[in-house]
Symmetry: C2
Subunit: 150 residues, 2 copies
Amino acid sequence: MSDKALFAPPGAAADLEEGSALTPKFDADGLVTCVATDARSGEVLMVAHMNAEALAKTIATGQAWYYSRSRATLWRKGETSGHSQRIVEMRIDCDQDAVLIKVEQTGGACHTGRRSCFYRAVPIGKAGAVTLEFRDERMFDPKVVYRGQE
Amino acid sequence: MSDKALFAPPGAAADLEEGSALTPKFDADGLVTCVATDARSGEVLMVAHMNAEALAKTIATGQAWYYSRSRATLWRKGETSGHSQRIVEMRIDCDQDAVLIKVEQTGGACHTGRRSCFYRAVPIGKAGAVTLEFRDERMFDPKVVYRGQE
């Protein structure tokens, strides 16, 4: 399945921004950024990437599919962990290079065992080395949940 | 100001994920992804990129600084439009390649005149060409607000 078969190529800025055609602007690696939020609380759960096939599968199935840069493979969120994401709503941004999905998250989104990947705060307005502050506890044991890797 | 002077280099996965040192994992272009949300409503406003200098300036000043890939310049959000972002909270994700900022947004975040860049919905579960659905109205006239470009 080639990328060209899945989505029309992006046009000029005016078409990208004010048009009603989905013409994603994939980067040099063929990816768009995807932000997943909890559909009920609005909490940002994770940031990942989708290639054309992952985006098309997500739209077609209503389940979140991503592309792993480190493993160079397409994956369905939750295929190892069971912690899948059902899409409640999808949005595309102005220049069509970022996707927002509001999801119903089963279990935790983060492979470290937390609900969200953003479990550490960065203090603002301090000079010098930055010490992160942990804000969220683990909700599952990743060693138990992941026999493979997600 | 070199990147190395600003942040220590990222270590192994265990350090990145469970450590309390901010050691951002910049990509091949020297960037991390940044998601900005409205600190009060939780709404996702925009996705952009930060290089080491933009991230360091954001942490030091409490105002959002980004790096524009298309213009290859550092910029402070609002420097042209007045639509600045005051950081209420910053978070870093598990593998330290994405930053979340919860902001007090003056005016609209999107250069098209909307509050959020994610003003169009992508229908889920439909086959064939996708028709986007506009969900948000303009809150300002970009032709008036931007004399230059942001």
